[in-house]
Symmetry: C2
């Protein structure tokens, strides 16, 4: 098939008629599909069932340092859980606070602490200033953007390049004192599945923001979420780079086991310099006596070290790969050569990012919906839900079965073509 | 023994010498005792070991409405957990959000929401005003006071009467628009073990604060924590009273299973009117996808209804009563008639409150410490850690064994006498 742009009016008309017939046939199937949510599928959850029995009625609840996990105390978490999360974040256990079941909650709390009290090196709460801004590499994770929007930050879009956020833009924007931080998903980014290049990490570690307590919010949500465990993407350690620049206070790091064990039932962590950890502990102390240590102990027993995590994640990868494959093969088969769409080929994470013809994403999502396929709302990957090009669509293939994903991808590809043909005919 | 105040100088001198000899003997025992912490003892924790096995590897993780507790979603919690927590709070399930393992965290978050955004009926975030205040019935719970201190509220002491906070004072103070809320532990209060009288609850439900979004923070931490389950204190339903006044939005209620199952490993809840619940869900949505539903399911299976909770708590009571008895009998034996101390006789909760001679609490805590007994820091039960009379001491008999509690109480009583005699001799 040739590129749509090169087709004449009659050919486009014929293509549109053909696509409409196919679309009507799909509609008649009464499909009920959903590839909108970055949730593991039931088969993935089953991999972690052992976690449910790893501590039973007769087992000790003592952590390795003697802490009774069944009683109050220990704000920063038990040693074995700190070590596990530190290994995932490539930090020292002293640089980690283990949290509850939601890393989003920790990120929210860290934004809140910045808003109310600022961070070491700064001059107090960011919220005391008139106009505060946060950098949002986009497309990105809508829930990140929502946190800073909720606190009233102006969300500033930073384009994503192949190797991560456009660092020319970042270096320029941080010269504005009102810019207080940047959201990053550095490995297998949401939604593009991109891993920040070494150059990006080095340049990020070398920025000199005007705001003295600017913080990089480094959400390493997919640190161990390789689709090809024998050939994982490698991410340079931001903390190591920061330390060698004497700037170790500039980053706050996050991860969780939500997509390792049970989403919303796992454990989470903050990683940061000792100065930041001390600051965070001071500000967390009035908020919580300590997070759920029984669940920390469960996780540390079920996943005693990074090697165990990697073995466990390899089983996830084996389940996920066919689903990603189903999307990629279908898009390739249906859309290659038409020059109306491009998409990412992630080597990990939970998403594939699809760019359709400018001005067509909303229409594609709508067409899919009317034929029984729920996609992430168009625009969701941009601050304020506004995709300036109306082009980006996030595909989340994990929750549905591989067969469903294949059907969903066929319908999606059809709708991408239909929307493009509609647009070209209307031009 | 006669009242110390009625003894002449010689008699006090002789008493002091005798007490000092006994104190030296106690010091030589090399005691290491701690009655400072409101933590359940190991025997109490063992009562909940069944919780650890109530969901095992092969069990379903589906909630009764089909929600997969092992995956993301459902901000307000699963139906069976909402029902359980609603029953404890005497509310409807629709009036409840089930949280994570810390009700303190929920209270902190609710203060934060008020500070940043205010509540329905108000004019926006409390923090936008110059000078904001929070009422602190005292003696009270130090961690409550710390939350509002952290946000910069001025903490205003309200005296505690036999039936709860002095309502004349509360009614007067809420005429100040800068007063945004009041902390209450309405049943078996911390540290006095007092239950608010019907009159207190009715008057509280009838106040007309100047701040339009004033909120009663009703921490019903000890709702089911009766020491005498067949004759529990009864607490009038604040929500029922508020509803009959059309003022149901004025309270935010909290409870948790921290002292029912595992402290820091249980589940927590907010109870509130539908309007407040909607407001809270809107402000929690950017913060968290949902709290740990697996732990909610565990709790709902282990404690399927209020009857099960009461049976379970009766076992706790049987363990706690001898410890409370040991304190009360010892204080009675050693201090009755001396007119240098008074103490509460709680019928539930976790604490006994001891008032020593004015100006002596710090000295008593110090004397105890030097003989090997750790008490809650003097002043801790007052805002800013400042007890204006330097008289209140919180006794937490739950964590130590009954024998240890007996020895601790003997030492404590001795130190109360010693500090009083020292003071009288110096006068």
């Amino acid at each position: 098939m040739s590129a749509y742009r090169e087709m004449n009016r009659d050919s486009i008309g014929a293509e549109l008629s053909s696509l409409r017939r196919r679309y009507q046939q799909m509609q008649q199937k009464g499909l009920m599909l959903n590839i909108s949510r970055g949730k593991p599928g039931a088969d993935q959850l089953d991999l972690s069932r052992g976690l449910l029995s790893v501590i039973s009625e007769s087992d000790s609840l003592l952590a390795e340092d003697g802490t009774d996990c069944g009683n109050y105390g220990v704000l920063e978490g038990i040693p074995e859980a700190k070590r596990l999360m530190a290994d995932i974040l490539e930090l020292e256990p002293e640089e980690v606070i283990v949290g509850g079941s939601s890393s989003l909650n920790l990120m929210h709390d860290c934004v809140s602490i910045g808003y109310l009290f600022g961070y070491p090196g700064g001059t107090g709460g960011w919220g005391k200033e008139e106009n505060i801004k946060f950098l949002c590499p986009s497309p990105g994770y809508d829930r990140h953007f929502s946190v800073t929007e909720h606190f009233g930050f102006e969300l500033v879009v930073v384009p994503m390049n192949a190797g991560g956020p456009d660092m020319d833009v970042v270096e320029h924007l941080v010269q504005d004192k009102s810019v207080k931080g940047i959201w990053c998903v550095p490995k297998y980014s949401n939604p593009e599945g991109k891993t920040f290049s070494d150059e990006t990490v080095r340049r990020l570690a070398a920025i000199s923001p005007m705001a003295p307590d600017f913080r990089v919010f480094w959400d390493n949500a997919y640190a161990v979420h390789d689709l090809f465990p024998s050939e994982p993407d490698t991410l340079l350690s931001l903390m190591a780079e920061l330390k060698s620049n004497g700037r170790q206070d500039m980053a706050l790091m996050f991860t969780s086991t939500s997509k390792v064990t049970f989403p919303g039932g796992g454990i989470s962590a903050i990683g940061a310099s000792r100065a930041n950890i001390a600051w965070l502990k001071k500000h967390f102390a009035p908020q919580v006596i300590g997070y759920d240590k029984i669940n920390m102990l469960r996780h540390a027993k079920f996943l005693p070290d990074l090697e165990a995590v990697k073995k466990h994640k390899a089983k996830h990868a084996a389940i996920l790969r066919p689903k990603f494959d189903a999307v990629l093969k279908t898009l390739d088969k249906e859309l290659s050569g038409l020059e109306i769409a491009s998409w990412t080929q992630p080597r990990g994470g939970y998403f594939i990012s699809l760019d359709v013809m400018d001005g067509c994403a909303k229409r594609v999502v709508e067409l899919c919906k009317e034929a029984g396929l729920i996609l992430t709302g168009s625009g969701a990957t941009y601050p304020y839900g506004m995709d300036p090009r109306d082009a980006n669509i996030r595909i989340a293939p994990s929750f549905a079965t591989a067969d469903e994903v294949k059907t969903a991808s066929e319908l999606l590809a059809l709708c991408v073509r239909l929307a493009a043909a509609e647009k070209l005919q209307a031009e």
